[in-house]
């Protein structure tokens, strides 16, 4: 613990130094380098883009992104098509023609290009520390900027879930995602999709929840609203289980073990209540001595006994709320 305290102090000191230290970026991204060498003359009238890419330009107004880059007060390197793809004249040049193509750049370069403007959401170092960045996922793997281009999810869309066609009241994909999150995330996480086909699951296929209600694909400004500092994500919806209770159940509180996931499989199972197992076997994983001797045959909570197994304010054995 002393070592950790020392490292913390050194780190905070280095951060403080950061306020005054100069940070020169030698390993600038391709997009940064391209914009750095551009002059005002390299930017052309936006209408010129439409001469070669008419479909994209005409339909761009259907994308929310169009509203974000249309301000003429923005610097040239943040405006319109060229704000993302680089100066048009460099793209058109006969020699050394270059363009920021998000499908051809490496995931790292492609994401760095997006983060030129999205620093309000996160910095490049924030992004680097995410699981998605580590797995070479790029922003454009999930987000679709143009509404009329192929979204690269043809096979995922083939795998339609029957429940999605029966139900109407589904929330539309947010934040320019390529598809509803069950389809989009499932295209890379098929085993999770399979779990959602189970008899009991969170209502993600039904469109009542989205993957991002629980998972942070990347940092966001308002992430604070979906994180309970004590028990994490689950209790931000299941607030009746948030506590703190006078009598906390150790694994539920996450004091030891993995919290809710010690008993539940949140994507879905064929067992009731998305439990890892059925009836008293669940509790007997830890309370092995109770399996055969303590009211055998009964379910610990349904029989009216330990009905408050998530925590109680009145009973240390969780018999009452």
């Amino acid at each position: 613990m002393k070592v950790q305290a020392l490292v913390l102090i050194v780190g905070i000191a280095m951060l403080s130094f950061g306020f005054t230290g100069t940070a020169q970026r030698k390993n600038a991204s391709f997009a940064e380098k391209l914009f750095a060498r551009a002059t005002a003359d390299d930017f052309m009238n936006e209408e010129a883009c439409g001469e070669c890419h008419p479909s994209v330009v005409k339909n761009f107004s259907a994308s929310p992104h169009s509203a974000l880059v249309s301000d003429s007060k923005l610097p040239l390197d943040k405006q319109g098509c060229q704000g993302c793809h680089g100066p048009g004249r460099i793209h058109q040049a006969e020699e050394n023609a270059e363009v920021i193509s998000y499908t051809k750049l490496s995931p790292k370069e492609s994401s760095a290009a997006c983060l030129r403007c999205h620093e309000k959401t996160m910095s490049e170092s924030h992004w680097k520390r995410t699981e998605h960045a580590r797995a070479d996922v790029a922003c454009v793997s999930c987000h679709q900027i143009h509404t009329d281009t192929e979204n690269g999810l043809a096979h995922a869309s083939v795998k339609s879930d029957p429940r999605t066609t029966v139900l109407d009241a589904k929330v539309d994909p947010k934040l320019m995602l390529k598809a509803d999150e069950a389809t989009l995330c499932g295209s890379c996480h098929p085993t999770v999709s399979a779990e959602f086909r189970s008899a009991n699951h969170h209502p993600v296929p039904e469109g009542k929840m989205a993957c991002s209600d629980c998972h942070s694909a990347h940092p966001s400004k308002n992430g604070v609203t979906t994180q309970d500092m004590f028990k994490g994500k689950c209790v931000t919806c299941h607030t009746e289980k948030a506590g703190p209770f006078i009598y906390e159940h150790d694994p539920v509180a996450g004091f030891t073990g993995d919290g809710c996931q010690e008993c539940h499989r949140p994507h879905g199972t064929n067992n009731p209540k998305m439990l890892n197992s059925v009836t008293r076997g669940l509790c007997a994983q830890c309370h092995t001595d109770k399996l055969a001797q303590h009211y055998p045959g009964q379910t610990c909570w349904n029989s009216g006994c330990h009905a408050s197994s998530h925590g109680s304010n009145s009973d240390p054995r969780f018999l009452k709320p």
Binding site: G18, S198, T236, N270, D289
Partner: protein, 554 residues
């Protein structure tokens, strides 16, 4: 109260703004919305975006707005509605209005689904002030029936969520968010239902400050239990973080969080978190990430065991070579756990190691990852049986292979998990195997299939093999078929099957659509769904869902 009234009219305000902006119809070719990916890709339409055919030169009025109305009948008991209510009778399936924000007007989108009754959604997005202001609003309402061995009443949830994002300076943005939800769960007797009303209000600011990135946020989360079983709770959270690049090879982030939890009739609790993390680029293809975190808990009410401090240290080394990447991770965790009788503090310690290897094998991608958690020191439990209850070892190994081409995509994944408690002689082994794929046979026909197995082997010294009885093996399968004759006619069939222990179910869904002219579409759906439960027959259902829908674009 005034705030609530104001917010309850917020959705309508977004609609009004959008209407003011005008549901403009541009003179461009018609394109489906980006999110409508339910149809298989038609290679005939797969021309590069920058190639334009002669027909596209003739500009047709774009019709981005959509309205769907239909009739649905679902014959079955309430067990059918364990996750959501199936629509009944006539209703608006979907309406979508889009103002594309041309000529300097606001960009806006408004969507409604599932009206006039049962589960429904209202969703709006408005981008104003040249993109400097973004307002989102979502109102959802849905109900479901808890599936159990006795019939219950309807459980319901209503959500209202508004977010405003505002640019306040170049590179700096602020947000305000209000989210309220009412959640009522009904369970079979003797368990009491619960009913909570919740409000979350948060504001924050973030962006580039002094060459670094600063984020500040304040949130309050208020929960009221309508049944009176739980105290009213108010949690106030304050978070701050600052990250900075130190030269070209290192970035650091420090963060601090404080939460105060106030509960009616009880003393307040406090939580403080401190964290320091960062990246070190050790070369063009090698990096090191690290994290140090400390959380102090000040729980004044808990009368049994609790933890008062948690320390986490982790590091991860990553390296890319050719088309492969490898990661090695290490995490050490210590907690100060106050015993149930508050006489002593134990310090359970864990080490966790993980590794991940991922890369290309021809057209396929192979991912192998594994983790092992080792309990170095346990905590004393003061239950009747004082043997430890914490897992000594937890291990996981997953191998995933996926890949394909434009025609075929396949995947196979195997996951093995092992949990062991030596003192209690419990060993749990869980194998999960899933494989599947999709095949675009012709431009008209596509197929998919998926199979998953869960296999458990659990034993405990107290009960021999008896514990294994409570971990039923499971099988899930899905098959699908899509047919698109041309842009005007198509259909699909899909079958979902699950089976575990006493429960099994099949969900067959058949649908066909016919385009009537350019802007009109008719869809028919029939879905016989079944579930059987050998132990408690009452949880099963037999239902046939019939649905007809008409959609117009304008």
């Amino acid at each position: 109260m005034k705030l609530k009234v104001w917010l309850s009219t917020g959705t309508m305000a977004i609609l009004a703004m959008a209407a003011t902006a005008g549901w403009a119809q541009e003179e461009t070719k018609q394109d489906p919305p980006a999110t409508e990916t339910a149809q298989p890709a038609d290679p005939a339409n797969e021309q590069p975006a920058d190639q334009t055919s002669d027909s596209e030169e003739k500009e047709a009025p774009v019709k981005r707005n959509e309205f769907s109305i239909g009739y649905t009948s679902s014959r079955g008991n309430v067990n059918l509605k364990q996750h959501a209510r199936i629509p009944e009778g006539f209703g608006i399936h979907n309406f979508r209005l889009l103002a594309p924000g041309t000529e300097g007007r606001a960009w806006a989108k408004f969507i409604g689904r599932g009206f006039p009754r049962q589960d429904n959604v209202l969703q709006g997005l408005a981008i104003l002030n040249n993109g400097h202001t973004v307002i989102r609003g979502i109102r959802t309402e849905y109900g479901f029936y808890t599936k159990d061995w006795r019939t219950k009443g309807l459980s319901e949830r209503r959500d209202v969520d508004y977010t405003i994002d505002q640019s306040i300076a170049p590179g700096i943005g602020a947000f305000a968010k209000y989210h309220s939800f009412d959640r009522q769960n009904r369970y079979p007797a003797p368990r009491d239902g619960d009913h909570t009303r919740n409000e979350v209000l948060a504001v924050g600011v973030g962006g580039k400050v002094l060459e670094g990135n600063l984020n500040l946020a304040v949130a309050s989360r208020r929960t009221s239990d309508v049944t009176g079983a739980q105290p009213k709770t108010l949690q106030k959270q304050y978070t701050a973080s600052y990250s900075h690049d130190l030269g070209d090879v290192m970035s650091l982030e420090g963060s601090f969080g404080y939460a105060r939890i106030e509960q009616s009739g009880l003393a307040s609790s406090n939580i403080k978190t401190y964290a320091l993390g960062g990246n070190i680029d050790m070369g063009p293809s090698t990096g090191l990430q690290f994290h140090l975190g400390r959380t102090d808990y000040d729980f004044n009410n808990i009368q049994n065991a609790y933890i008062r401090k948690r320390l986490v240290t982790s590091a991860r080394l990553m390296h890319h070579f050719n088309k492969w990447s490898v990661q090695l991770g290490y995490k050490h965790q210590e907690t100060e756990r106050v015993r149930k009788d508050h006489t002593f503090v134990d310090v359970p310690k864990y080490n966790e190691f993980d590794a991940r290897l991922a890369g290309k094998l021809g057209p396929a991608r192979l991912t192998i990852r594994g983790s092992y958690q080792d309990l170095l020191r346990s905590a004393v439990v003061q239950t009747q049986d004082t043997r430890q209850m914490i897992w000594d070892d937890k291990a996981m190994l997953q191998t995933k292979l996926d890949g394909g081409n434009d025609k075929v995509q396949v995947y196979a994944a195997h996951t093995y998990r092992f949990h062991q408690n030596r003192q209690r002689g419990v060993e749990m082994r869980w194998n999960n195997l899933a494989f599947g794929g999709s095949f675009i046979a012709t431009p008209q026909v596509s197929l998919f299939g998926e199979v998953a197995f869960d296999n458990f082997k659990v034993q405990g010294s107290d009960s021999g093999q008896y514990l294994d009885f409570y971990f039923p093996n499971a099988r899930n399968a899905a098959l699908g078929f899509n047919y698109t004759k041309d842009a005007t006619l198509g259909g699909s069939a899909s079958l979902n099957y699950y089976s575990s222990g006493d429960v099994s179910g099949t969900q067959l869904t058949l649908s066909v659509y016919k385009q009537l002219g350019e802007d009109h579409k008719v869809e028919l759906l029939i879905a016989p769904w079944r579930q059987t439960d050998k132990l408690y027959g009452i949880t099963g259902y037999r239902a046939t869902i019939l649905s007809a829908r008409y959609t117009v674009r304008f």
